[in-house]
Amino acid sequence: MHKMDLLELQERLQNAVSEAFPESCWVRAEINQLSVRNGHCYMELVQKDPDSHNLVAKAQAVVWSNVFLFLKPFFESSTGMPLNAGLQVLLKVEPRMHPLYGLSLNVSDVDPSFTLGGVELERRKTLERLEKEGIIDMNLQLPFPRIPRCLAVISSDKAAGYQDFANHLSQSGYAFRVRLFQALMQGSGASASIIDAMDKVAAAGSGRDGGYDVLLILRGGGAVTDLHCFDDYSLAANIAQFPIPVITGIGHFRDVHIADRVAHMALKTPTAAADFLIDCLAAEDEELEQTGRRIERAMQNRFNQEEIYLSHVLKDLKGAVRWLVGQHHHNLDLLEERVVRNNPLTILQKGYSITVYQGRAVREVSVLRPGEQVKVLLADGSFLSTVIETEK
């Protein structure tokens, strides 16, 4: 049997590889690790079993600096995300065996549409999962407060977007209460960092308990780099189930993220979010003012009505008093007339006389007997008289 040294073995492998792959080929893989040294990009590519997720293949790949210089911006501008570990990629590679460094794949090109397709597929799966779990519309269905005044903001204090947002609100003249909960807003740690901040906001309770009316997740400002976190399932599930309405202002130009889909409202920029909140308060303000004007008008109308009514009442009362007094005067006249008519003096003054027997006026001759004494009353005096004879 032929015995050879290691270099010969490696050189034969080198030749075999070169013969097997005379030209470049496209290979699908997941980037497991990635590092850039001296302008060269070194990657560990892997393939996992779709069910068990165990590694079934692994290879080293390198993008030399002269290629990486163009490949990096091309990939990032096409996909809106940096070339990072965790991405599924389609790379044009030339497998090369080096006697000293072993097998390596020289990368000469990348197909961004493959990665985008993978991301899109992943997004669709996440959306389906949220739907299946029945939580996708939970935040959307929360009633939005009429006066969103106490605001929790998750952002980075360095982000220009947050500053724009805060300035915009303070210039509005409305007394918003804003508190910033800091979090990483991009990169692989962003999702966990944002969820951590959300837990702190939730612990403060809702607006009624001195907590917050609305949560805003604002990125804003700077170049669009890695917004992959806003498609993350855990972050989306947390937003969907958050106890108060969530507004996102992630400030991206590409299509909508899952975080936007599950939030109560998605606005393009932090400034747009501020405008929306100011509009809410302005609308409430306007409505209050209108209500005030309506009340004022109604009061004035009522006042006028009452004024008219009262003047009528006054007139009626005057009339009533006049009538009542008149009525009483009339009754008094009648009574007086009756008294005067029955006053014996009135009769006597007309020349009639009254015969009095035992203190009473004599109305029948039968009460008198001859010889009895009677008193005869005249207007100016009286005289005694004796009955001589009676006749009927």
Partner: protein
């Protein structure tokens, strides 16, 4: 027949009604009738004065 306490209009009217009825009685006691007539005339005057005051007050209040 004279009253010491101030009379109200209603009391005066009630008394007046009684006096008129008494005077109209066919067998009224003649010795009392003159006094009753006098009292009735007084009461009528009192009531008229009262009504006049009432009308004046009402006119003053209801302007």
């Amino acid at each position: 027949m004279t009253r010491k306490s101030p009379l109200t209009y209603d009391q005066a009217r009630a008394e007046l009604d009684e006096l008129v009825k008494a005077v109209e009685q066919p067998n009224a006691d003649l010795s009392e009738i003159a006094g009753k007539v006098k009292r009735a005339v007084e009461l009528v005057a009192f009531c008229r004065e009262y009504l006049k005051g009432l009308q004046n007050d009402a006119d003053k209040i209801l302007t």
